[in-house]
């Protein structure tokens, strides 16, 4: 049972490939991909994709794999932001503590999504190169808020079109963490921890890309 396996991983303190031991029960792989492609296309529209997403679609056939590769790109971005940009700035206090902890979480998400994509028979997108503006702690935290809140909207927007319930469970498990990060970061910069009030707004892929693309260099 996926949730049990997931909890075992968390209990053991490891985010390892076992997370992604997913099978698509009751469907052939080709029909699974077809259904997923139709659903994803209905949600996002073909015009929304940028080059790196197009590559992912070409490589993997779309559906859950496409969505997971999109999520993987965002997690690469967040991981790089905390673990590389965060290190370069010389953070202090809560900002430093959060950057270290959240950077570990994002790296765990990268590993989990990578292995999940492989389990589904897809090819994980390569890690892009990133560049983030700013050199102050306050600029770092403001951008962290943007990225985390974008992550919440991205997962919430994409999750309903996932075909596999097990992949959905994994996505839900991750988005809850992104939301926790977002609230904690927002509190540090005197922003509301609930910027959308009672209901987080799901983002379309276009909206997510508008936020993320400026930081993706290749």
């Amino acid at each position: 049972m996926f949730t049990k396996r997931l909890s075992e991983i968390v209990d053991s303190g490891m985010a390892n490939p076992e997370l992604a031991n997913i099978e698509v029960s009751g469907m052939t792989r080709s029909s699974f991909i077809l259904r997923g492609t139709l659903a994803a296309g209905a949600l996002y529209g073909a015009a929304a994709v940028t080059p790196f997403v197009s590559h992912a679609v070409a490589a993997n056939g779309g559906g859950d794999v496409e969505i997971l590769n999109f999520a993987l790109t965002l997690e690469y971005l967040e991981s790089d932001f905390y673990n590389v940009k965060g290190q370069s700035i010389g953070l202090s206090g809560p900002a430093k503590s959060y950057a270290t902890l959240f950077g570990e979480h994002e790296q765990d998400h990268v590993k989990a999504l990578t292995e999940t994509i492989k389990q589904l028979g897809g090819t994980p997108v390569p890690k892009p190169t990133f560049a983030f503006p700013g050199s102050s702690q306050s600029a770092f935290l403001s951008l962290a808020s943007v990225l985390e809140n974008t992550g919440v909207g991205a997962y919430n927007g994409a999750a309903p079109s996932l075909q596999s319930k097990k992949v959905l469970a994994a996505a839900g498990s991750i988005v809850q963490i992104e939301a926790r990060h977002a609230a904690a970061i927002n509190l540090l910069i005197n922003e509301s921890p609930t910027p959308n009030e009672g209901f987080d707004v799901p983002y379309t892929k276009t909206q997510v890309l508008a936020k993320a693309d400026p930081f993706i260099k290749s």
Partner: protein
């Protein structure tokens, strides 16, 4: 189940040295944030009960559906026998029988029992759709019950006057947001043709700022894990989208309260754990009249 998830233990939590002095944050809009970081290293052990426990309670039998009155969720949490029957049926034989059961459980109309029986035995597209619909109604009413409890809890917390300043404002806003969840879930149940669960009129221990803060943190973490535990059971993409948009707000509440009570904002680490219905119902039982 660990004590951390068993809310029964929370009223004693103000004896926990970890939260001694937590009342200091009540007048302080700034310092609680940095203090929260100190808790990062202390992983809060929140083991969700083993999912196989539910399976053990299940059996392959096709127990006949029985008509249940509205408010079944409240009865379930008070009555171990009812709860076991519910879980036995919910866990057995997959979506169709579960959906048929919750349709009966929700008491959406006087004809629900016969509709449920039909859905359980038919394989036609129309009745499968009805079963999916009723599955979602059951989950929505389960969530509605939790949101009623959270709303009542925050009303009592606000009335207690334990919190002021920025923390007080946050808590008041969280209470208002839970109320919007109640309204949204009621509307969703009605839109799907169901009857919304009634307000269980929860009761909560309100003793001190530190105890209440920790209880709020526990309640919000439970709520987040409860939504996560149902995501895979929801049939309608629209209902799923609604549940997800609420789920991440519960997570934001939990994280914020973690900074307030100096507990981890991410007690599960990088991957949030789901809580199944039996775990959640057992945890809220002490708060029902």
């Amino acid at each position: 189940m660990t004590a951390a998830l068993g809310l029964q233990s929370v009223p004693n939590a103000n004896c926990d040295p970890d939260v001694d002095g937590a009342a200091n944050y009540t007048q302080d809009g700034v310092s609680y944030r940095s203090a929260a970081i100190q808790a990062q290293g202390k992983a809060v052990q929140r083991a969700i009960s083993d999912p196989t426990e539910v399976l053990k309670m299940s059996s392959p039998s096709n127990e006949q559906n029985v008509t249940q009155p509205a408010g079944i969720v409240e009865r379930l949490v008070r009555d171990d026998v009812d709860r076991k029957r519910f879980l036995k049926m919910a866990g057995a034989a997959g979506t169709t029988s579960f959906g048929a059961f919750v349709l009966a459980a929700c008491g959406s109309s006087s004809s629900s029992s016969s509709t449920a029986t039909t859905a359980a035995v038919s394989t036609s597209a129309a009745t499968m759709s009805a079963a999916s619909n009723s599955t979602d109604i059951g989950i929505l009413n389960y969530a509605l019950t939790l949101e009623y409890l959270e709303t009542a809890f925050y009303e009592k917390v606000v009335a207690s006057g334990f919190f002021s300043g920025s923390v007080g404002s946050l808590i008041a806003s969280f209470g208002a947001q839970e109320k919007t969840h109640v309204e949204a879930l009621k509307g969703a149940v009605e839109k799907m043709g169901g009857t919304p669960a009634t307000n269980p009129e929860g009761k909560f221990p309100i003793q001190s700022a530190s105890q209440v803060g920790l209880l709020a943190y526990t309640v919000e973490n439970l709520g987040a894990s409860a939504y996560l535990g149902q995501a895979g059971n929801i049939q309608s993409p629209e209902v799923l989208a609604t549940a997800l948009s609420i789920h991440s707000v519960e997570a934001r509440h939990a994280s914020t309260l973690g900074t307030v009570v100096k507990k981890s904002v991410t007690p599960d680490g990088a991957f949030a754990k789901p809580a199944d219905m039996s775990t959640v119902l057992a945890a809220i039982k002490p708060f029902l009249p």
